[in-house]
Every structure is written in C-alpha cells, then in structure tokens.
C-alpha cells in the first residue's frame, strides 16, 4: 500500500462506528453538534484514518480516546451470508472497497481468526468465479472500449448481477483477467496468420 495509492486513500475514508471514551469539549462537531461537548460514550461514525489513530493513542493507564467496532460491511449479517454462499453477496453494496477495508480491519483485529478465514474463503471462491466470467466476456467482438471503472465492463447475461456486486479489488482482478485472456487470444491469432 503506497502513500499515493488512490484506492488506499479511498479505503481510508470508510467509516467505522466509534465510541468516545472521554469528554472532549471542542469535538462536538463530529457528532453534528458543534457547540456542545462530545460526551464519553457518544457513538460517532469516523473515517478509518481518524478512528485508527484515535483508538491506538492511549494514556498511561492504557485507555484510548475511542473504541471502535467492526463496520456494518463486516457485521454478523454479512458474514453469515458469506458463509452460506460467497458468490451470492453483492459486496459492492456493503462497501466499494470491501476487501481493502477488510484487510485494514484484520490488521487492527488480529484476534478475529474466524472472520479472517471467512474472508479468505470468500475471496478465493469469488476470484475463481471472476476468472470464469472474465474469460467468457467479449469473446466475440472487441470488449467495450473504455473501461471507465464505473460500469462499462461490457457484460451481458447471467453473470451481470454477480459482476455488478464486485468491489474495487475484484474489479481490478476482473479487468486484469479479461485483458490477459484477450491479449492471449490476439497473440494466438497473430501466430496463426504469419
């Protein structure tokens, strides 16, 4: 993860549910009340770049400024659904940077072994599916020219629903797999011609 990595920066903006552990008079604006003191116990959604450091910083008794919970994208509902069938969950609806977020959370919560293994299995299962779709797509003509990252993946048919639910990491994977298959095909045709 590079300092300049755009996706890493956007992942850092994902919000975590946080609970403040101390009263802070000047931070009321974080809870939509600029004029009031932010009380200990207040629940505020903070971006990862803020939550992480506030949670890590602590006083001599080891008490930190905030405690954070798992984001909803990694909540029990989603994890249960992923356990049932990783391919059936549109991850993008949970977070556009689902795996980026998941990786960051696992760095912070190394003790969540079970969560980690569910996520790993999810990634592997879906990656296989992605590779399958990437080979099929655009087999006929040229794939839709501009991959503007938003939607233009030039997909049709049954896989559409699944592909729409890919998060950023998976989209990159899809694009790479697709380009690879296309380039290999072009090369083969070239070899035959000459």
């Amino acid at each position: 993860m590079s300092y300049y990595d755009i996706d890493a920066i956007l992942t850092d903006a994902e919000k975590l549910p946080c609970t403040f552990q101390i009263d802070v008079p000047d931070l009321g604006y974080l809870d939509n009340a600029p004029t009031q003191t932010l009380r200990a116990g207040a629940k505020v959604a903070l971006p990862l770049w803020l939550a992480e450091m506030l949670a890590v910083a602590n006083d001599d008794q080891g008490k930190s400024f905030v405690n954070f919970d798992l984001p909803r994208a990694l909540g029990n509902d989603v994890i249960q659904a992923l356990k049932a069938d990783p391919r059936a969950v549109p991850l993008r609806d949970q977070s556009a940077h689902f795996f980026g977020l998941a990786t960051r959370m696992m760095d912070l919560l190394a003790e969540e072994q079970e969560l980690g293994s569910v996520l790993r299995k999810t990634f592997v299962t879906r990656a296989t599916e992605i590779a399958l779709h990437a080979r099929k797509v655009g087999g006929g003509g040229k794939a839709a020219g501009g991959d503007d990252g938003a939607s233009n993946l030039g997909v049709g048919g049954a896989g559409e629903e699944f592909l729409r639910g890919l998060d950023e990491t998976e989209r990159k994977l899809f694009r790479k797999a697709h380009e690879g298959a296309k380039a290999a095909k072009e090369w083969m045709e070239n070899v035959k011609k000459h």
Binding site: Y3, I9, P47, L54
Partner: protein, 215 residues
C-alpha cells in the same frame, strides 16, 4: 455537517476517475484551494489551542485537549495526503502524455473533441485543462525527454514498439499540417487528402493526430 477531510476525499475521487480516462480532465483549482484553506484553518486552530500553554503542554494532564489536537493534526495530514495524491496522479498522466508524443501544450486552449484516431493511443482534448504549474511541468519534462532522446540520434525512444509490416503506408490527413520534407521530396499535407508515404516519416504526425493511418 461536512467534516474535515471531506473535500480532500472529493479530490481523490477526481483522481480515481482520472486514472481511467485517456485524456486529462480539468484541474480542480477551486477544490484544491478549498482543501489548502482547510489546512490553514486547522493550523490556526491548533496554534490558538496551544497558545495558553506557552510550549509546555502535557498531553497526559489534559486528555480532552490532547484529543482535539490529535484530531486536528490527523485532519491536516489527511488533507496533505489527498492533495499530494491528486497532483501525483495528474503528473503521472502528464508524463505518460509526453512520452506518447501528444502535443500537450499545442492543444492547450483549444478543446479538441475526442478524435477517432486510435492509432498509437493518440490523445486529444484535455490539455486545455492544465493548471499553470502543470503546463510548466509538461514543458520542462518535455525538454528533459528531448535532451535524453537527443543522445541517440539513430533510434527514436518514443517511436512505436510495433515492428512495421510495410515500409510505406496509406494515410489520410485529418488536420492541415503544412509541408513536410521526405527523402522523396516535399509533400503538402492538406486536410482530407490522401498519401502513400514512408511510415517513418509520418509516425510523429500520426501520434499527434494530424494523420490517420489507413488500412
């Protein structure tokens, strides 16, 4: 209520979009200024919070203030990262344009509609959307590249990597390019005319979008 760092995030979303475009979208001068302003505001807040302590602030004695300062500091650092990443993304793109031979500065000011010339990834439009600093950067980077290339006169470092099939090709002129000198005499490139020329003579013009390769 907008939080500190929200504007920076917007800037990075612009950068994200830029990564997937062929041309360079307009420079977000307004947004960049707003983010820089936010950093200055935060810095001023920070100074005024610290002032009464006369440089002897003890974080363990005053948790609440320490927390406020940390939030302030992190917000500034976040904004810095967003600003740098935005500009770096654009600078990368500009270098790419210079290497691909797009006449970035020539295009400045004139909004060319995206051309139909897919040859060698020709680039149109967008150049008019540089900030003054970026224009400067492109100019100097171009000079640097020219000086570097100048060391080898018999090889074109920015030439096409594809080995040519034929020495000669058919081209159509998309924009008036004036007269060029070739081994076989001068050719006057007027719009919509068609020529059979040596590929090496016109490669540059193709990549700049003056000519279109046929067939």
């Amino acid at each position: 209520m907008p939080l500190y760092g929200d504007l920076g995030n917007k800037l990075v979303q612009h950068a994200k979009r830029t990564q997937n475009l062929i041309h360079l979208p307009p420079y977000q001068a307004e947004l960049v200024r707003a983010v820089a302003r936010e950093v200055r505001d935060l810095d001023r807040d920070l100074k005024s919070i610290l002032e009464p302590f006369q440089g002897s602030f003890d974080p363990t004695a005053d948790q609440a203030t320490a927390c406020t300062l940390l939030v302030n500091h992190l917000s500034m650092r976040r904004n810095k990262r967003c600003l740098l990443a935005y500009h770096r993304t654009r600078a990368d793109k500009l270098e790419e344009l210079v290497w691909s031979g797009a006449d970035v500065l020539d295009l400045a000011g004139q909004q060319t509609a995206g051309g139909a010339n897919g040859v060698m990834g020709a680039n149109d439009g967008g150049a008019s959307s540089l900030s003054p600093q970026e224009e400067d950067y492109v100019r100097q980077y171009g000079d640097l590249l020219a000086a570097y290339k100048g060391q080898w006169t018999d090889i074109d470092l920015t030439g096409s990597l594809e080995p040519p099939r034929d020495l000669f090709i058919d081209v159509r002129v998309l924009k008036d390019a004036g007269e060029i000198q070739t081994e076989y005499g001068a050719i006057n490139l007027t719009r919509n005319s068609q020529f059979y020329v040596r590929q090496g003579d016109v490669e540059r013009l193709i990549s700049q979008g003056y000519l279109q390769k046929l067939g």
